[in-house]
């Protein structure tokens, strides 16, 4: 077992599955000899050749659309969109075609593809390189949205995504790509695609998060415990379909919930969870739900991005506020 980073775990899962299954192909901009701008596809072209590791022309709608064509024709394409800010041009294909192929043909055809893209702010990147588009994808019927926050989860969930018979959007937190290492066994075991991870147990308040913010949330939980507050932390990870049961069960115990996400607030995935709580968990809530999210502004350029990202302080403040109600 090796200690590896999240981006290495992505790479490991890709290698594993390309080795297992000759129908898996990888495509995108610079995924070949360059190994991807984040090196997620490093070494693949040497091992699996130019035909299965495909540098595409600079065209994201093409990347999504041809993945659909490949998937319908029996391949299992894993497409990389270089940054999430360039993924909006794939929405049309994902929504109007990928998510519909199976239903539209009543099961005659299907679309087992994965669309991977690095997401999120906090790496001092230029404009359009810090986006969090999970809610746009999560709106699409017929697809799955996955967003791991650790090397192990990245490995197990990416294997699951590639093996899944339906289209999966796989979001990778750039801020965590190299932030820390974890032991990941290359055992080929896939995780379930519809179960949240409870990453810390607690009884006082439920903190729900996904992607890079899981780490700030865990850090907040560390601080809170020192102040005598035991926070339960849930990493949603598989956003769509959403495992609301795990969240509801936790909130039933704690009575309090703070949802932490860096995406702008309006119609975000944080809103979705808060809405489900208002609908299904209201009677167990002892305090208002709080969304600690990015503001409804353009993700700022590097100089101000830290003022946009939810801070540990905001998370702690929200948890404490939740506990003021009784």
């Amino acid at each position: 077992m090796a200690q590896i980073t999240l981006v290495e775990a992505v790479n490991l899962a890709l290698k594993r599955e390309m080795g297992n299954d000759p129908s898996v192909v990888v495509l995108g901009q610079d995924v070949g000899i360059d190994g991807g701008v984040f090196r997620a596809t490093l070494g693949l072209i040497e091992r699996f050749g130019r035909e299965r590791v495909i540098d595409t022309p600079l065209a994201e709608a093409l990347i999504a659309g041809m993945s659909i064509g490949m998937a319908v024709e029996g391949l299992k394409p894993v497409a990389e969109i270089q940054f999430a800010g360039f993924a909006y041009t794939t929405l049309d294909q994902m929504l109007n075609h990928a998510g519909r192929m199976r239903h539209r043909t009543q099961g005659r055809l299907s679309c087992p593809m994965v669309l991977r893209t690095p997401c999120g702010a906090g790496i001092h990147a230029p404009e359009h390189h810090s986006e969090s588009p999970e809610a746009m994808f999560a709106q699409i019927p017929g697809i799955r949205v996955v967003y791991p926050s650790s090397p192990r989860r990245a490995y197990g969930l990416l294997l699951a995504a590639i093996r899944d018979p339906d289209p999966v959007v796989f979001l990778e937190p750039t801020r965590l790509y190299r932030l820390f290492k974890e032991e990941v066994e290359d055992d080929g075991n896939a995780f379930a695609l519809d179960t949240c991870f409870t990453v810390r147990d607690g009884t006082d308040v439920t903190l729900v998060s996904w992607g890079a913010m899981v780490h700030d949330t865990l850090a907040a939980a560390d601080d809170l415990i020192e102040q005598g507050i035991a926070a339960e932390v849930i990493d949603v990870a598989t956003l769509k379909p959403l495992d609301m049961d795990t969240i509801l069960a936790s909130v039933a115990r704690t009575g309090r919930c703070v949802i932490v996400s860096e995406a702008a607030r309006t119609c975000s995935f944080a809103s979705e969870i808060a809405a489900s709580l208002a609908e299904e968990g209201l009677l167990t809530l002892l305090a208002p739900v709080q969304r600690i999210t990015g503001y409804d502004v353009v993700v700022p350029l590097p100089r101000l991005e830290k003022h946009y990202l939810p801070s540990k302080r905001r998370i702690i403040g929200a948890a404490k506020k939740a506990l003021e109600f009784s």
């Binding site: 192909v25 035909e51 299965r52 495909i54 595409t56 022309p57 065209a59 709608a61 093409l62 999504a64 659309g65 041809m66 993945s67 659909i68 064509g69 490949m70 998937a71 319908v72 024709e73 029996g74 391949l75 394409p77 049309d92 294909q93 109007n96 075609h97 192929m101 199976r102 239903h103 539209r104 043909t105 009543q106 099961g107 005659r108 055809l109 299907s110 019927p141 017929g142 018979p165 339906d166 519809d194 379909p241 959403l242 495992d243 609301m244 049961d245």
Partner: protein, 353 residues
């Protein structure tokens, strides 16, 4: 200034609008029986089209897009393709679909607003009708990539309209097909109109065939009302693709004799003289003239064929009308391979209604 590249666009026609031979016929067209086979399909398409419009006008079908006038393009494409090639189409290629094995009943189901109309098993791997213009061009590229990767002698054939050539996906797909020398044939059915927008408003390009030049691939124009020209161009393009020679773009010049769809009224924007002129050029008459001149066709055969086609279409319509409505919960069917728990709840909610 040095000239560093030169390009030409060619046009091909074998039967002119009077049914006269304009150029030496290709091999397959020298046997009238082959042409009669095509003609029979074209007549069936027209009968189907008329029936569909009748059903729509009487409230028994949803919005329908007629292929009137485009029978030669449909027959040329449909007859040239091999069974295990893959067809990616718009709403105006029902003729090709029929020739590839989709039943008329299924086509009516589709236009009747029933998903089961895209569940046809023959042709097993053809894509469903693509309504979002030109999106399927990129699907064709992906399908062709898969074929090439697996070293299969198969071809993806992608049909689209003149309007579709203005769209980004068209360009992205064409360019990629060229870059990878993929086995794909793009058929641009230039019927002169995109709803109310005439071909000239769509682009300053003199021909649509020349769009291929941007992608570094071969482009040519054919008389799309001459089924021989369409079929011949398809034969060559398919052979080239199968042989590893890469993609071809075929612009088939024809005319949309009908309204855009049954929801449209083309008299609002289109000169009736232009339509009358176009009728003189329609594809069935010209082929019939030629076949008659060859002594291979006559009034008796024509009448028998019309009767046969009408009966066939009528029977299909009846079969369509007899199909029970889909169950409400079908809206959850096949959304995923296995319905996720979150959706099972919603399905129960819907059933509880």
């Amino acid at each position: 200034m040095t000239v560093i590249a030169r390009f030409e666009v060619r046009h091909s026609q074998f039967l002119d609008e009077h049914g006269e031979i304009a150029a030496p016929l290709p091999e397959f067209a020298r046997d009238p029986q082959n042409l009669i086979a095509l003609y029979r399909w074209m007549v069936l398409m027209r009968a189907y089209d008329a029936k569909a419009i009748a059903l729509q006008r009487t409230g028994q079908l949803g919005t329908f897009a007629s292929l009137l006038g485009q029978e030669a393009v449909n027959a040329g494409v449909g007859s040239a393709m091999a069974e295990d090639d893959v067809f990616l189409m718009t709403y105006r290629e029902n003729g090709v679909q029929m020739m590839r094995g989709v039943t008329i009943k299924e086509l009516f189901l589709y236009w009747g607003g029933d998903e089961r109309g895209s569940a046809f098993l023959t042709p097993r791997r053809d894509f469903p009708i693509c309504i979002t213009i030109a999106a399927h061009v990129t699907h064709a590229v992906g399908a062709a990539y898969a074929m090439k990767l697996r070293r299969e002698p198969r071809v993806a054939v992608c049909a689209l309209g003149d309007g579709a050539t203005s769209k980004g996906d068209f360009h992205e797909g064409l360019n990629a097909a060229g870059a990878w020398t993929l086995p794909v044939v793009f058929v641009v059915t230039n019927n002169q109109w995109a709803i109310s927008v005439p071909r000239g408003t769509q682009s300053a390009a003199r021909t649509l065939a020349q769009k291929a030049i941007a992608a570094g691939i071969e482009g040519l124009q054919v008389d799309g009302n001459d089924v021989i020209a369409v079929r011949h161009a398809m034969d060559q393009a398919l052979a080239k693709a199968r042989g590893g020679g890469g993609p071809t773009l075929i612009e088939a010049l024809t005319y949309r004799l009908s309204d855009h769809t049954t929801a449209d009224d083309a008299t609002r924007y289109r000169n009736p003289d232009e339509v009358a002129e176009a009728w003189k050029n329609e594809p069935l008459q010209r082929l019939r003239t030629h076949l008659t001149a060859c002594g291979a066709w006559d009034k008796g055969k024509e009448d028998a064929l019309l009767k046969h086609c009408n009966e066939k279409v009528q029977a299909a319509a009846q079969a369509y009308l007899d199909i029970p409505a889909p169950a409400p919960e079908q809206i959850f069917d096949h959304l995923y391979a296995t319905l996720p728990a979150a959706l099972q709840k919603q399905r129960a909610e819907a059933l509880g209604e």
